[in-house]
Symmetry: C2
Subunit: 106 residues, 2 copies
Amino acid sequence: MKKQNLFSNIPESFPKEIFETLLENTNFKLERILSCGQSTSGGKWYDQEKDEWVVLLKGKAGLRFENESEIIELTPGDHLVIPAHNKHRVEWTDQTQKTVWLTLHY
Amino acid sequence: MKKQNLFSNIPESFPKEIFETLLENTNFKLERILSCGQSTSGGKWYDQEKDEWVVLLKGKAGLRFENESEIIELTPGDHLVIPAHNKHRVEWTDQTQKTVWLTLHY
Protein backbone atom coordinates (compact mmCIF):
# COMPACT_ATOMS: atom_id res chain seq x y z
CA MET A 1 0.00 0.00 0.00
CA LYS A 2 1.31 3.44 -0.81
CA LYS A 3 0.55 6.31 1.51
CA GLN A 4 0.21 9.94 0.56
CA ASN A 5 -0.14 12.97 2.80
CA LEU A 6 -2.87 15.60 2.77
CA PHE A 7 -0.41 18.26 3.93
CA SER A 8 2.23 17.51 1.29
CA ASN A 9 2.55 18.78 -2.26
CA ILE A 10 1.26 22.22 -1.39
CA PRO A 11 2.72 24.90 -3.67
CA GLU A 12 4.40 27.97 -2.15
CA SER A 13 1.70 30.16 -3.64
CA PHE A 14 -1.15 29.75 -6.10
CA PRO A 15 -3.43 32.33 -7.68
CA LYS A 16 -6.54 30.11 -7.66
CA GLU A 17 -7.76 27.49 -5.23
CA ILE A 18 -6.53 23.99 -6.08
CA PHE A 19 -9.06 21.14 -6.34
CA GLU A 20 -7.72 17.59 -6.41
CA THR A 21 -9.81 14.44 -6.62
CA LEU A 22 -8.56 11.81 -4.18
CA LEU A 23 -11.22 9.20 -4.85
CA GLU A 24 -14.20 9.09 -7.19
CA ASN A 25 -16.86 6.62 -8.24
CA THR A 26 -20.47 6.85 -9.40
CA ASN A 27 -21.66 7.49 -5.84
CA PHE A 28 -19.26 10.06 -4.45
CA LYS A 29 -16.22 12.22 -4.99
CA LEU A 30 -13.61 12.84 -2.30
CA GLU A 31 -11.59 15.99 -2.89
CA ARG A 32 -8.75 17.95 -1.33
CA ILE A 33 -9.03 21.71 -1.71
CA LEU A 34 -6.19 24.15 -1.05
CA SER A 35 -6.79 27.84 -0.39
CA CYS A 36 -4.44 30.69 0.49
CA GLY A 37 -6.63 33.73 0.97
CA GLN A 38 -9.08 33.12 -1.88
CA SER A 39 -12.82 33.50 -1.44
CA THR A 40 -15.87 33.00 -3.60
CA SER A 41 -16.20 35.91 -6.05
CA GLY A 42 -18.34 38.79 -4.83
CA GLY A 43 -22.06 38.08 -5.01
CA LYS A 44 -21.61 34.49 -6.22
CA TRP A 45 -23.03 31.45 -4.44
CA TYR A 46 -22.35 27.75 -4.72
CA ASP A 47 -25.61 25.97 -5.57
CA GLN A 48 -24.76 22.27 -5.73
CA GLU A 49 -26.70 19.31 -7.09
CA LYS A 50 -25.33 17.00 -4.41
CA ASP A 51 -24.97 16.97 -0.66
CA GLU A 52 -21.50 17.82 0.53
CA TRP A 53 -19.64 16.94 3.71
CA VAL A 54 -16.75 19.28 4.33
CA VAL A 55 -14.00 19.37 6.93
CA LEU A 56 -11.33 22.02 7.36
CA LEU A 57 -8.04 20.36 8.34
CA LYS A 58 -5.58 23.26 8.41
CA GLY A 59 -5.87 27.04 8.29
CA LYS A 60 -9.09 28.97 8.76
CA ALA A 61 -12.09 30.00 6.70
CA GLY A 62 -15.44 31.75 6.90
CA LEU A 63 -18.51 30.12 5.32
CA ARG A 64 -21.70 32.02 4.67
CA PHE A 65 -25.09 30.47 3.96
CA GLU A 66 -27.70 32.44 2.06
CA ASN A 67 -30.36 31.73 4.67
CA GLU A 68 -28.20 32.65 7.66
CA SER A 69 -26.98 36.01 8.83
CA GLU A 70 -23.79 34.94 10.55
CA ILE A 71 -20.59 33.75 8.96
CA ILE A 72 -19.50 30.35 10.29
CA GLU A 73 -15.81 30.37 11.16
CA LEU A 74 -14.08 27.06 10.55
CA THR A 75 -10.89 26.03 12.33
CA PRO A 76 -9.03 22.70 12.08
CA GLY A 77 -11.29 19.71 12.63
CA ASP A 78 -14.54 21.61 12.05
CA HIS A 79 -16.88 19.73 9.75
CA LEU A 80 -20.45 20.07 8.55
CA VAL A 81 -22.89 18.85 5.95
CA ILE A 82 -24.06 21.27 3.26
CA PRO A 83 -27.30 19.87 1.83
CA ALA A 84 -27.79 20.07 -1.94
CA HIS A 85 -29.03 23.45 -3.16
CA ASN A 86 -28.24 25.09 0.13
CA LYS A 87 -26.60 28.17 -1.29
CA HIS A 88 -23.30 29.07 0.32
CA ARG A 89 -20.06 30.89 -0.31
CA VAL A 90 -16.57 30.99 1.12
CA GLU A 91 -16.44 34.49 2.55
CA TRP A 92 -12.72 34.35 3.35
CA THR A 93 -9.80 32.00 3.88
CA ASP A 94 -6.67 32.63 5.93
CA GLN A 95 -4.15 34.82 4.12
CA THR A 96 -1.27 34.00 6.47
CA GLN A 97 -1.18 30.23 5.93
CA LYS A 98 -2.48 27.56 3.59
CA THR A 99 -5.96 26.23 4.24
CA VAL A 100 -6.55 22.52 3.57
CA TRP A 101 -10.09 21.21 3.10
CA LEU A 102 -11.44 17.76 2.52
CA THR A 103 -14.86 17.43 0.89
CA LEU A 104 -17.09 14.51 0.10
CA HIS A 105 -19.75 15.11 -2.56
CA TYR A 106 -22.46 12.44 -2.52
CA MET B 1 -25.70 24.67 9.40
CA LYS B 2 -24.25 23.21 12.52
CA LYS B 3 -20.58 22.44 12.72
CA GLN B 4 -18.90 19.75 14.79
CA ASN B 5 -15.21 19.13 15.38
CA LEU B 6 -13.24 15.95 14.74
CA PHE B 7 -10.92 16.75 17.65
CA SER B 8 -13.68 17.40 20.18
CA ASN B 9 -15.59 15.01 22.40
CA ILE B 10 -12.57 12.80 22.98
CA PRO B 11 -12.71 11.07 26.38
CA GLU B 12 -9.76 11.35 28.75
CA SER B 13 -9.19 7.64 28.46
CA PHE B 14 -11.01 4.66 26.96
CA PRO B 15 -10.31 0.96 27.22
CA LYS B 16 -11.39 0.14 23.65
CA GLU B 17 -11.13 2.06 20.41
CA ILE B 18 -14.16 4.28 19.74
CA PHE B 19 -15.93 4.03 16.37
CA GLU B 20 -18.42 6.76 15.47
CA THR B 21 -20.38 6.98 12.24
CA LEU B 22 -20.36 10.52 10.88
CA LEU B 23 -22.28 9.83 7.69
CA GLU B 24 -23.80 6.70 6.20
CA ASN B 25 -25.93 5.74 3.21
CA THR B 26 -26.27 2.65 1.02
CA ASN B 27 -23.04 3.50 -0.79
CA PHE B 28 -20.57 4.40 1.92
CA LYS B 29 -19.90 4.91 5.60
CA LEU B 30 -17.74 7.72 6.95
CA GLU B 31 -16.36 7.03 10.40
CA ARG B 32 -14.21 8.66 13.06
CA ILE B 33 -12.05 6.27 15.03
CA LEU B 34 -10.28 7.15 18.27
CA SER B 35 -7.35 5.15 19.60
CA CYS B 36 -5.07 5.61 22.62
CA GLY B 37 -2.53 2.85 22.45
CA GLN B 38 -4.81 0.04 21.27
CA SER B 39 -3.84 -2.33 18.50
CA THR B 40 -5.49 -5.21 16.69
CA SER B 41 -5.43 -8.30 18.91
CA GLY B 42 -2.43 -10.57 18.42
CA GLY B 43 -2.64 -12.70 15.31
CA LYS B 44 -5.91 -11.14 14.10
CA TRP B 45 -6.37 -9.46 10.72
CA TYR B 46 -9.04 -7.19 9.32
CA ASP B 47 -10.48 -8.81 6.19
CA GLN B 48 -13.10 -6.37 4.87
CA GLU B 49 -15.82 -6.77 2.28
CA LYS B 50 -15.43 -3.19 1.09
CA ASP B 51 -12.65 -0.90 0.01
CA GLU B 52 -11.57 1.55 2.68
CA TRP B 53 -9.92 4.92 2.46
CA VAL B 54 -8.25 5.88 5.70
CA VAL B 55 -6.51 9.02 6.89
CA LEU B 56 -4.75 9.56 10.20
CA LEU B 57 -5.41 13.10 11.43
CA LYS B 58 -3.76 13.18 14.84
CA GLY B 59 -1.39 10.90 16.74
CA LYS B 60 0.56 8.05 15.17
CA ALA B 61 -0.03 4.45 14.21
CA GLY B 62 1.61 1.46 12.57
CA LEU B 63 -0.31 -0.50 9.92
CA ARG B 64 0.75 -3.94 8.77
CA PHE B 65 -0.42 -5.68 5.62
CA GLU B 66 -0.30 -9.45 5.39
CA ASN B 67 1.50 -9.37 2.06
CA GLU B 68 4.13 -6.83 3.10
CA SER B 69 7.05 -7.21 5.44
CA GLU B 70 7.32 -3.63 6.66
CA ILE B 71 5.02 -1.80 9.01
CA ILE B 72 3.72 1.44 7.50
CA GLU B 73 3.99 4.29 10.00
CA LEU B 74 1.21 6.84 9.71
CA THR B 75 1.55 10.41 10.93
CA PRO B 76 -0.98 13.26 10.61
CA GLY B 77 -2.26 13.71 7.07
CA ASP B 78 -1.12 10.27 5.87
CA HIS B 79 -3.83 8.50 3.90
CA LEU B 80 -4.14 5.38 1.82
CA VAL B 81 -6.64 3.03 0.22
CA ILE B 82 -7.00 -0.47 1.63
CA PRO B 83 -8.66 -2.60 -1.07
CA ALA B 84 -11.33 -5.07 0.03
CA HIS B 85 -9.93 -8.35 1.37
CA ASN B 86 -6.47 -6.91 1.68
CA LYS B 87 -5.71 -8.28 5.11
CA HIS B 88 -4.26 -5.76 7.50
CA ARG B 89 -3.92 -4.99 11.18
CA VAL B 90 -3.14 -2.01 13.36
CA GLU B 91 0.19 -3.02 14.86
CA TRP B 92 0.32 -0.12 17.32
CA THR B 93 -1.10 3.32 18.06
CA ASP B 94 0.52 6.12 20.03
CA GLN B 95 0.32 5.59 23.79
CA THR B 96 1.25 9.18 24.66
CA GLN B 97 -1.61 10.95 22.87
CA LYS B 98 -4.96 10.26 21.26
CA THR B 99 -4.96 9.09 17.69
CA VAL B 100 -7.80 10.32 15.46
CA TRP B 101 -8.62 8.47 12.23
CA LEU B 102 -11.14 9.13 9.53
CA THR B 103 -12.23 6.21 7.36
CA LEU B 104 -14.49 5.91 4.35
CA HIS B 105 -15.84 2.42 3.63
CA TYR B 106 -17.24 2.16 0.11
